[in-house]
């Protein structure tokens, strides 16, 4: 897949003639990262596919509204994050928070991981799924996607200090969980 810098991509997305090509290049550049970001939030393979599809549709529909107040990557991550959280919200009952989905997601993880999965990797993900959603998001974007806090703030709409606190709590909770559950 041809690699292209974001400035060129934005110019292509602004041009009616080159828009579709620019869009395909944009998804080619960020699609894989977006998929794994989504997968870490929703856990399930099929759910991740559905959210990826919705994300792709929303990116295409929102190109005209993209005002370059943030980078392209931040913008597409925000769309993907919102779509993933929207799917989780649909899974919750009346007045139920998505934070309460931890156990459901752990069950899904066990189904998806299969019998031959690495036990340490599964335990690590279980530790992550115990976290409140905001801490899990901050941890995922910082640890797996290696995003600066300023960018995570734009993706999640939270302020940088809150995110630093979220990440700090998340790391401590994961360490404690692993200590308690390691054999």
């Amino acid at each position: 897949m041809e690699q292209i810098d974001d400035e060129q991509l934005v110019a292509m997305l602004r041009s009616p003639i080159q828009r579709d090509r620019g869009y395909r290049l944009l998804l080619g550049k960020y699609g894989s990262r977006l998929y794994w970001h989504i997968r870490r939030i929703v856990v399930g393979h099929e759910d991740a596919e559905d959210v990826m599809q919705e994300t792709a549709i929303n990116i295409l529909a929102g190109i005209d509204k993209f005002e370059q107040k943030s980078s392209l990557s931040t913008w597409v991550y925000r769309i993907a994050t919102n779509e993933a959280l929207r799917l989780l919200r649909r899974r919750t009952g009346f007045l139920q928070s998505i934070d309460s989905l931890g156990e459901v997601l752990v069950e899904k993880l066990e189904d998806e991981a299969g019998m031959d999965a690495d036990a340490a990797e599964v335990l690590f993900q279980k530790a992550l799924l115990q976290l409140p959603t905001q801490q899990r998001l901050a941890f995922n974007l910082r640890y797996y996607d290696e995003m600066p806090y300023e960018e995570i703030a734009k993706v999640t709409g939270k302020n940088v200090n809150t995110l630093k606190t979220n990440y700090h709590f998340a790391v401590n909770k994961i360490k404690n969980y692993l200590k308690e559950h390691s054999l």
Binding site: Y35, V43, M52, A127, K175
Partner: protein, 120 residues
């Protein structure tokens, strides 16, 4: 089993076959474009006819303006007549056909009174 940040790192317990994610992303892009194209309203028939007629009229007008210039013919404008030295010069520069066209109607042909009985 030891599970910590060092031993697990960034590995995930769920795997996908090689090329799966790239294929998925390409499929999502195709479907998004197809869905956008399908949701665009088709132009109604009368609007398409209107566009065709307007395009033809514009083409004919463009041809009328451009063709005399290409064939080397001169275009007499109101400004050119107004700036000419005399009416005689203008008339002498006109062809017989152009003069005949001017002469075709005389003032006598224009009725001065409204004739109710001859109303058509």
């Amino acid at each position: 089993m030891k599970a910590d940040f060092e031993t697990v790192g960034k590995r995930l317990p769920y795997k996908e076959t090689e090329g799966y994610v790239d294929d998925l992303v390409a499929r999502c892009a195709d479907r998004a474009i197809a869905s956008r194209d399908a949701s665009r309203p088709a132009r109604p028939f009368m609007r398409r006819v209107g566009i065709a007629v307007t395009s033809m009229a514009a083409a004919l007008l463009a041809a009328a303006v451009i063709f005399p210039a290409i064939s080397g013919g001169s275009v007499t404008t109101v400004e050119a007549i107004a700036q000419s030295s005399s009416l005689g010069d203008v008339l002498s520069s006109m062809s017989n056909d152009e003069l005949a066209a001017i002469d075709y109607y005389s003032f006598d042909d224009i009725p001065t009174e409204y004739d109710e009985n001859n109303e058509q």
